[in-house]
Structures are given as C-alpha cells and as structure tokens.
Subunit: 504 residues, 2 copies
C-alpha cells in the first residue's frame, strides 16, 4: 500500500472507530436508563443522549468522511485494501449516502416528532384512544415519505424502508416469501385448532419464586456458552440484549411471578442475540462491521435458540429435571406434558404473546399494512379497520378494541416502518440454518439431549457469528446453507413439529 | 439583551451543555467500569473513553468557544449577563486558557504516559520495587514541569498546581495554614500517645455479615437525607461518589467482612459528597458550574458527615441501638466504648487508614514533598529518603519498605500533584463550617442526638450545596462563616474532642 493510501486508510479507520465509540457510550447510556438509572436524572440524561447522538450523526455525515471514502473507492486504492477494509468502505458508503441526504434540521425534527409520538402512543394505548394518536402517526408517515423521496424510490416506495433493516430485501421477494408462508400456515393453524389433542397448560398457572427463576436463567445461559466474563444479566421492563463491544454484551430479562416461561424463554432469546455479538471475530472490533449483519439474521439467532433449541423435546428431556429441582413440588408433570404445554398453538390478538406458528401471521398482517401505507397511500385514519379485517381473515379473531389491535406495537410511533418483516425472516433463516446444522453437525439432537450445547454454539460461531457484517444476509444464508432464503424450511419444520404434538 | 448578544449567549450555553453531556457520558463509562463492567470489554472500553475524552478536549479548546467567550467578555455584553452566566463565562475562560496552552499532541502523550505510570505503580507497589517505578515518575514530573511552564509560573511553580484543585490557594497561604496546624497537632498527638486512657477496639475485630452491613449503609444514607430517587448505592473496590447530573448522583462502597467500620464510615463519607451534588440549584443544571466549587470544599462535606457528625457522641447515642440490632449479640459494649473505639488516635504508616487527627500530618508530609519537587528541584530518586525522614519527624515512625512508604498513593503516578492538600483543607473547612452551624442552627447536637439530620442537610444545602461553583472556595467560606479559612477551628475541634476522649 502506498504511504498516501495508508494515511487515508488510517484516518478512515479512526473515524469509524470514533463512530463506534459513540455507539458504545450511547449503548451504555440506554442500558443504564433501562436497568436502574435514578428516575430524577432521566430528563437530563435524555438531553445528553440527544447531544451525543447529534454529534455522532455529524461525524457520520462529515465532508471529511465523504472525501476519505471517495479516495478509498478509487480503483488503485481500493484494490490495495484488505477484505475487511473493502467491506468497511462499502458499508460506510451506504450509511453515509443515506444519512447525508437527510438535512440535519429535518433529522432533528424527526427525532423530536418520533419521541413525542412514542409518548402519545403510550397514552393512547393505555386509554384506548386511537383518535388522539392518529394525527401524530400521520405526521410520522408523512416524514417517512419525505425520507423515501430524499433517499430515492426503488422498485416500490416500501422497498426503501425494508432495505434499512434487511439489506437487499424487496417487496417482490417478500410477497413471494410471505405469500407461500401464509398459504401453508393458515391451513396448518386450522388443522391444529381442530385437533382433539390439545396440550394441557394448567400446570403453568402457578406462582414461581423470582430468585429461583433468576438462578435458572443464569444456569441456562451458562449451558448455552454465554461468556459471563464478556457480559452480564440484569433486569428491565422489556428484555433486550446490547453489544457494547464484543467483550461486553449484556442481556436483560424480566421475572414474572405468575409466569415461569416468560423469563425462561426470554433469557434464551436474548442469550441467542448475545452469543452472536460475543463471537464476532476480533479483527472487526472497533469497526461498524462488528455487529449482526441484519435484523433478520440477528433475530434468526435469538429464535433459533429460543424456539428450535429451547422449545425442543430433547432440550427438555435434558433440562426439565433441573427446572423441577429449581421449583420443588411445583412441576409435577411429565417431560412430555411440559414440552407440549410450552408449544401450544392458538390464534391470539397480541403479537408478542403469540406462539411460534401464528406469530408469523401477525407479521404478515403488519407487512401488508405497511405496504398499503407506503405503496397504497393508506393514512392513519384507515388503519384500525384494515387491521381488524386482516385479523379476521388470517387469524379468525377480531380485536375488541384498538388497544389490543392496531395500537399494540410501539414500532410505528418511532418510525420503524419496514422492521416487522425481520421477525419472520428470523424464523425462516433459523429453520433453514437448523436444516443445514442437522445434516452437517453429527448427532446434533443427541448433543442437545445430553446438554452438550457448546458444539452447537461453536458451529454457529464458525459459520455465522464470526463474520459480523462482513457478509450480507443473502451472502451469509447462501454460504451457510448453499441456497437462497427459502420459506419451505420453516413450513416443513413447523409442520413436522406440530403434526407430532397435535397428532395431526 | 440585544438579539446578537442573545444568540452568542445561546451558542455559548449550547457549547457548555455539550461539554457537560460528554462529562455525563464519561462519568457513566467510568462508574460502570468500576461497578460491574465485564472484564473482557475493558480494553475496548478504555479506547472509547480515550476517544470521547479527546473530543471533549477539542470542544473545550475550540476557536469557536474562544470567540464566544471574547464576545461575552466585552463590556456591553458582559453587563447584560445574569449572575450565573457571568460566572459561567469567567470559569469557562479559566479552563479554556489553561487547556489551549497545552498542545493537543503533548496532552495525548501525557494521557498515555500517566496511564502507563499508573500501571507501573500498581506493579511497583505490589513488588516493593521503587527502582522500576522511578524513571516513569521522573517522566511525569518532567511533563508536569512542562505544563507549569506553558501555563505560566505564579508566585512559585507549585502554586500553579495547587490552583487546579483549590482555585486561588497559594504556597504562601498553605505554608502559614499547615505550619500552624503542624505546630499544634504534633504535640497534641504526643499527649494522646502518652495518655493512660487508650480506647478499647478489640470488639471491632469480628466477622460482620456483609448483607447486614449493606442494610445499615442504606439506612444511614436515608437518615442523612440522601435521595434514592436521584441516586443509587453500589459496590466497588475503592468507594467513590459521582454526580452524573443533579438527579443522578451515585455512591459506591465496599463491605469488608472483618471490618464493620470501613463500609459504615465510607458510606457516610461518600454520602456527604453526594448530598453536595444532589442539592445544587436546578438553574445550574447542564452547566459546568453544576459541581462542587473545589476539591477542598467537596472534601469538607464528606468529612463533615463522616467525622464531625458520624464520629460524634450524639450520633452514636442515637444510632448505636440500630447497629446493635443489625448484628445481634455482636456489639455487646456501651455507646461510650463504641464511640471511643471509633475515635482512636495512633501514628500509622498508611494515609487512608489514618485517624481524623494524624491524617493531617500525612497530608502535610505530601505537601512538603511536592514543594520540594516543584519548587526545590527534587527528583524521583530523592523521594524515598525524604519520605522516610518526614515520617520519622512528624509521626515518629519509619516505613519498613517503600510499598508502605512513598509508593502507597496512586496520585503522583496520575500526575495529580497539588491534590493532597485538598484533603486537609476539607478537614479545616469542615471544622469552620461546623463552628458556624453550632452557633446558627439551634440545638444542632440535639438534632443529631434525635436522629433528625434533615435540618442539618438543609442548612448545608442552603448555605453551601446550592451554589455549586457559583461561588469560589474563598467567597464561600467567607459568606458562610464570615471569615477567611482559619486552621484554628480544626485545632480547637480536635483538641476539645480528644481532650475528652483521652482525658488529657
């Protein structure tokens, strides 16, 4: 590498490192707010977060960074870059072009608007008052449409939003993927509902000591290979995982006295996210490639651990004894009863409480609604009726009110349109990865049955985790499974699992 | 105010707010490192701290800030400012002028050097290896001398360093203050040593349950009026208090199983620091005036609560029953025995374990050594012998090795020359404030004896805390006590207290 190019590269890496340091500081400021920051300091804290975020945005959109990128994109210089640096240039360019198109003033207004709208949403949900929320939501939709115009429309307007969370994903692809999924899951769900072999869940409705729940969460994380020297487990109202750096990937969970499964599966879910971030190759530290490659792939890991592993029969054949010991005299059922009770399928109104199967229908509904908004011109006033119609069509139930319907999710208030599909993509990726793992990792289910989970974690680390953002989602799924994303794996997985449980 | 001046003022306030936000983020990054950050993330975390600190330094020394300051210092504009803004301009100018004189490259090198020297110090202390540490300490001394030259020598070179921690304090003043103090304390200490009435401390050498210690710490903080909605108590290896903002002032403490008094008095000490920061007037929030006015005044508050209140007889007449209940059957002594046992005076080698009286002699030794270094040209090689001579002279004991002698404190490794005097200044300010409080707050000691501590906190808040950095240390002590700092108050306080305890 020429000396001049070396200098440019080093300045570029310093700028990226700076962005990453701001992300770490902001990540900690948020984590702290949610895990135990004193109430009275929160307003000032929010202002500090605003100021640091604005500074980070400024660095990310600085003309200096633009010039460094241009210099490193020149043919001669670009050819001299390592694979990591080349990808870092590509990814940084993408973020840069996206961000510089937004005038800082518009961005500031948007930040304020979405913060207000989230507050309004909280009130509206509590008071079942969609009318009070509607004008705010309309403004967020209008702002999002402005951003779409500034970024430049792709095949459809909604494609622009999808690309934020799942790089390269399009309406054309999702229509086909979700169409296929919907056509299979709706009849499967109906067959399950008609089965006379409904699991018993009565034994789950008990009071479970919170500190015993915590002990079990810690035990399961340790079994999964979560590294406690590079993380910690805390409590928060809404569980989350946050990777401050690969040596500091934190998890939170929530212990509900009357629901032992909430913290249990919540911890495994966040543990899956955390394993991803803990196992990124060290070479990516201090770069913006040091994170999951997309929301969908990230979600595939939380859901792989939560559902594919954590809700499997072999898993409970191994660990149910431990759970029983943790709650003496409380779980006097067979492993089979426990397994089936934790895999009940039932159409329900609330996405975050949905089972592994119908969950995807909740997502398809939101996907179709977002398409109607951005490609079909639907406005906030149209959404409650559209929502209720779709719940009737796909799940056969109608929300009794908007609080349990269109107002249930925070995402739209914060402007996170295009995010929902990631959840179902996660389920699909997880099933496809699991299929490959079953074929390539000898005795995979015996490992689970023996509580020998580390080879599973290591396989995922080697094939997925270590690459961070070095591979795009489509490159990754192709390299791991030899194929593009195919929803049939999820359909097959669910059909097989529930045919057994419900004796279809 | 003219519109133009209003705009300048608002830009200035925004810049100050930005600096304060960086301080909050950095404060949290440090707090987290010390209270529970995962070990494996610490290296990356340190780099992030370095990057954010450098950015904060850049904002604090930017030409833009210099221009805003100049504009606000112009007579017309300055007259239009509120008292708060005028002080903010004065204080910011002082910091600005200090910082801009240091070339960024030199500052960076200094940050790296002191970090290395602190690591070397840790090793050297552990291995009693002064020779290995000496060249590093010499470099820190050389760098500090460079800074003194860049800042500009005052009456003496060492004055420049003192002013960093206690604005306005000089060698001329301290020579007189410490001279008077030493002349009184050395004979008092000798009389105490000669007294036949030595307190019994055997009952303190027991094992005390840590969670019971924690409960008592929380109880005492609540009694002092520490606001738990604006703070929290955690554990760390070295106790500290940190004010992230006035609504978020955190304390840490350390529970030692074989020493119940360490956490007890440590918590009260840090609680005193925290009360100061929690009670600064809201108008100073988001400004750099929102902190204690000097290290000495800050220390006066921790020491007032720890020693004047927390080691007083009335305090234990009220609270010893609670402590006994906390450790059933373990503290079967009289209040008087407990009180006297916690006020034993004995020459000792280690500053941080010293009693309330001889502590000041440890500080005077360090003060005289720092003068020898910066005004007398002493080098690192000279320090062990000088140290041992002074311990012999003032305390009548000689360290058996450097680890328990000149290597005991971290301060010099980090370049914190000029800091030590603050500790004794804190004792002196505390005694002088207490004298005023006794005269002005009716029945002060009855309040303590009744466990009614809030009026004491309120008095301090009204006279001291609320002003933050709005008054300089000398203005503050003058306004509160009607006089300049006078060491005689401390001498009188100690003489009275120990004449009683040791029946002199």
């Amino acid at each position: 590498m020429t000396e001049a190019n070396g200098t440019v590269l080093s300045q570029f890496r310093d700028t990226v490192h700076k962005i990453k340091s701001y992300e770490e500081a902001l990540g900690l400021l948020y984590w702290d707010l949610r895990t135990g920051a004193p109430r009275k300091g929160m307003d000032t804290r929010s202002e500090s977060i605003g100021i640091l975020s604005a500074d980070m945005f400024k660095v990310s959109t600085s003309p200096e960074l633009g010039e460094l990128l241009s210099a490193l994109e020149e043919k001669g210089a670009n050819e001299e870059l390592s694979e990591i640096d080349r990808r870092l240039v590509t990814e940084t360019r993408k973020d840069y072009d996206r961000s510089v198109k937004i005038p800082p003033k518009l961005y500031q207004e948007y930040v304020v608007l979405t913060a207000q709208t989230e507050n309004k949403w909280e009130e509206a949900k509590e008071n079942n008052d969609y009318a009070g929320f509607q004008p705010y939501l309309d403004k967020v939709i209008t702002s999002t449409n402005q951003f779409i115009d500034l970024w430049g429309v792709k095949d459809t307007r909604y494609d622009v939003l999808l690309d934020q969370y799942e790089p390269g994903m399009t309406v054309a692809q999702l229509d086909s993927i979700f169409g296929g999924l919907r056509d299979k899951l709706v009849p499967l769900s109906a067959a399950i509902a008609a089965s006379p072999h409904q699991p018993d869940t009565a034994f789950l409705r008990q009071s479970f000591d919170k500190s015993a729940q915590k002990e079990f969460s810690l035990f399961i994380l340790q079994q999964m290979g979560y590294n406690f020297e590079a993380g910690r487990l805390d409590e928060s109202a809404h569980p989350f995982a946050t990777g401050l750096n690969p040596g500091d990937v934190r998890i939170t969970t929530r212990y509900l006295e009357n629901d032992v499964t909430s913290a249990l599966f919540g911890t495994i879910h966040e543990g899956g996210h955390a394993l991803y971030e803990q196992n990124i190759m060290p070479e990516l530290t201090n770069t913006t490639l040091c994170t999951g490659t997309s929301m969908g792939i990230h979600e595939s890991q939380s859901r792989f651990w939560e559902n594919v592993i954590g809700r499997s029969r072999p898993f409970w054949e191994r660990y149910f004894g431990n759970l029983q010991k943790q709650f003496p005299g409380q779980l006097d059922v067979s492993v089979d009863q426990f397994y089936r009770g934790n895999n009940i399928v039932q159409p329900s109104l609330i996405r975050i409480e949905a089972d592994e199967l119908t969950y995807n229908l909740h997502i398809i509904i939101r996907y179709e609604m977002e398409k109607l908004i951005f490609n079909g011109g639907a406005r906030a006033a149209d959404l409650p009726a559209l929502w209720n119609d779709k719940y009737k069509e796909y799940l056969g139930i109608t929300p009794p009110n908007d609080a349990e319907g269109v107002l249930q999710d925070v995402h739209w208030s914060g402007g996170a349109f295009g995010y929902f599909p990631s959840y179902s993509l996660g389920n699909m990726y997880a099933a496809q990865f699991a299929d490959t793992m079953e074929r390539e990792l000898a005795g995979m289910w015996s490992l689970v049955g023996n509580g020998d989970l580390h080879p599973i974690k290591d396989w995922l680390a080697e094939r997925i985790y270590k690459y961070g953002k070095l591979r795009t989602p489509s490159e990754l799924v192709q390299s791991v499974t030899g194929k593009a994303l195919d929803p049939q794996y999820l359909v097959d997985y669910l059909t097989k699992k529930y045919t057994d449980i419900y004796k279809l």
